[in-house]
């Protein structure tokens, strides 16, 4: 892969697939995210870390259009998406998973992933009613693709038809990633993907993230608490605290940063 381990913070403003420029978000009087700028290089794996309530998920929600930033600008693949609707952003190639898994519980695993294909399909009301040959072909292709994606994330075939809410926790995580992958993303946002996993599972997922990046030429941005995962997989780390970016750089560098240590452990003596 091309863009591995970029050397330093300044050098990567070019070739970034996603750039956030001084993005802020206020909720009433509370500033949840404050002037955060970040560049995500193409085909890299970048982590956002920070203590609880640091504004990480809020930042994710702005990247995916669920929240509109109070100020600042977000550019994805050379397009300004600051004011875009979530579905438009997904169509441009940003997909995500959620901190607390949000699958469609009353749908099967396969149907969940087919929903992820929604933005790459065209059939509307009249397509549905007439069920023209191209609509049938589109449906079949979407189902095949969904099945492939589910196998890719490691779900067993007999589980495809099970209701998502009846799958085990780990399998639900897989389905959620498959659902995100089904939309053909260029950028995948993972919100605490290893939450609730044991160390072996976390390691396996870390490997899988690298594999996805290489196979699918994907850029991955993740929020993560597990430092082993963060240090093991990310090429760059951004640290947020109280809505502000307090450090940024390669994992080893960030780990030694006194401000980061302070944010996590408190001030010394």
């Amino acid at each position: 892969m091309s863009a591995q381990a970029p050397p330093a913070a300044e050098a990567i403003s070019n070739g970034a697939i996603l750039s956030a420029e001084q993005v802020s978000k206020d909720f009433g009087g509370l500033r949840a995210v404050s002037d955060v700028s970040i560049d995500i290089p193409l085909a890299s794996i970048v982590s956002i870390i920070g203590p609880n309530g640091a504004g990480k998920t809020t930042f994710f929600n702005m990247l995916t259009g669920l929240y509109k930033p109070t100020s600042g600008r977000i550019v994805f693949a050379e397009r300004d998406i600051t004011q875009s609707r979530p579905d438009k952003i997904t169509k441009l190639g940003v997909a995500r998973t959620f901190q607390n898994i949000r699958l469609f519980g009353a749908m099967t695993a396969l149907e969940n992933v087919v929903v992820g294909r929604h933005c790459r399909m065209r059939a509307g009301v009249f397509g549905a009613i007439t069920r023209a040959p191209w609509v049938r072909a589109e449906e079949r292709a979407a189902e095949e693709r969904a099945a492939e994606t589910l196998s890719y994330v490691g779900l067993k075939r007999r589980q495809f038809g099970q209701l998502a809410s009846n799958l085990s926790y780990g399998d639900q995580r897989r389905v959620e990633i498959a659902r995100a992958l089904a939309s053909d993303p260029k950028l995948l946002l993972l919100d605490e993907p290893t939450a609730g996993m044991n160390p072996q599972e976390s390691t396996a997922l870390t490997e899988f993230m690298r594999k996805m990046r290489n196979d699918l030429e994907l850029t991955i941005l993740l929020i993560e608490h597990d430092m082993k995962v963060v240090m093991g997989v990310s090429e760059r780390v951004t640290v947020l605290d109280h809505g502000e970016k307090i450090a940024e750089g390669p994992p080893a560098e960030v780990r030694g940063n006194p401000r980061v240590i302070e944010a996590y452990l408190g001030k010394q003596g």
């Binding site: 749908m107 059939a123 549905a128 009613i129 659902r179 992958l181 599972e201 396996a204």
Partner: protein, 400 residues
């Protein structure tokens, strides 16, 4: 009680094993055949056929509401508005009500010389569908940012607004003519005329029956097709989790408004048919109770379940229009009680609903998904070997 239910469930499973896989299709053909034959077994203006015409109209109403409430999960308590608008569409476009106008499109013989707007019956049904679809989308807009109970309140208000406008219509002037007939109603509507059938009348009500039967079949066809489509999936996704759905690329506004519009269109067409059949479009009919009546059918049958809703609508309409007033009405008198059963109508409905909610909260024929949720139980918790998570992906395996 629960033992009895368990036995019944076993029987059903046994029957399902015994039936060939095409049984559901065979059953559908059989039911359609039965439906076509039914009016021939009764006299041409029998009270029973009249009841069935009304029942089928309610099936159409219920199927329309099911799109909004069952598929998309938007609790609509103002469905009566679309009944009203559909009926008025018929009144406006198929009578001498707008007496200053003179429009005649594809109408039969003598109607051509009458004042007012007179459109072909089929055209009116199409116009009613389009008008109510548009109205449905409009009522949808203010509810887009709302959820659950709040949607119910806004739609309820919309239903009331339409009712009050209908009641006060005579004072609202359009080109110097009243908008509605108010409580006096719009009367003197054109009897529908269809080539091959001729002029519809109240003396032979079989043609009415066949028209509404065809409309119900059409509604069923559209409902099934749409349910099993990209759009149907999007509705269910929105119903399940709105945030996840929009993050997966489902356009919120468009998808919700389509549910409102499509659901309203069926209500409007059914309303226009009912207006034509009863020959009087009376503002007093468009009560809140109608919305509840149709919603009860949807819930009784099973939210989101097409066949359940058909069954629920047929049952409630038949109880309401046939069983209580015609068959069982004198029952209390036979026991020496001094009242008629139809005085208890509302309590009977209430009792039935409570009974269903206690014994079968998922509805008579639950939607496949809800059935899965209730029968599949908690998924098999398989114990995975440590480290095998994600390992089904071998390095070098082809990417999708």
């Amino acid at each position: 009680m629960s033992e009895l239910l368990a036995v019944l469930r076993e029987w059903r499973a046994a029957i399902e094993r015994w039936l060939p896989p095409w049984w559901s299709r065979a059953l559908a053909v059989l039911l359609i055949g039965f439906g076509l034959l039914l009016p021939q077994l009764f006299s041409n203006a029998s009270n029973f056929v009249n009841t069935e015409i009304l029942s089928l109209t309610y099936v159409m109403f219920a199927l329309g509401l099911n799109i909004v409430v069952g598929f998309a999960g938007l609790l609509d308590l103002g469905y009566v508005a679309f009944f009203a608008l559909g009926s008025y569409a018929f009144g406006w476009l198929g009578s001498g009500f707008f007496y200053k106008a003179s429009v005649h499109i594809l109408v039969h013989g003598p109607t051509n010389s009458l004042p007012g707007i007179h459109l072909n019956f089929v055209l009116i049904l199409i116009c009613a569908g389009l008008l109510t679809a548009f109205a449905g989308a409009i009522i949808g807009v203010p509810t887009l940012r709302l959820r659950g109970d709040y949607i119910a309140i806004v739609t309820l208000a919309f239903g009331e607004i339409v009712r009050v406008i209908a009641l006060n219509g005579p004072q609202i002037k359009v080109f110097g003519m009243p908008l509605t007939g108010g409580e006096l109603g719009i009367s003197g509507t054109d009897p529908p005329y269809l080539p091959g059938i001729g002029m519809f009348s109240q003396l032979d009500i079989r043609p009415w029956y066949y028209v509404i039967f065809a409309l119900v079949l059409l509604t069923l066809f559209v409902n099934i097709r749409v349910r099993d489509s990209r759009l149907g999936r999007a509705w269910i996704a929105l119903r399940e989790d709105e945030v996840a759905a929009v993050s997966m690329g489902i356009p919120l506004v468009k998808t919700k408004l389509l549910a409102y519009a499509l659901g309203a269109a069926f209500g409007g067409i059914a309303g226009a048919f009912l207006g034509a059949y009863t020959t009087l479009i009376d503002a007093g009919e468009f009560q809140f109770g109608f919305s509840i009546f149709v919603l009860s059918m949807v819930i009784l049958g099973g939210l989101g379940s097409i066949w359940g809703v058909v069954l629920g609508a047929l049952l409630l309409a038949n109880i309401n229009y046939y069983l209580i007033p015609d068959v069982l009405n004198s029952l209390p008198g036979d026991f020496g009680l001094n009242f008629n059963l139809n005085e208890l109508q509302v309590s009977i409905f209430g009792f039935l609903l409570v009974l269903v909610m206690v014994l079968r909260p998922q509805g008579l024929i639950p939607e496949r998904r809800r059935k899965l949720e209730l029968t599949e139980g908690i998924g098999e918790l398989e114990l995975e070997e440590p480290g095998t998570a994600w390992s089904a992906v071998e390095p070098g395996e082809a990417a999708p």
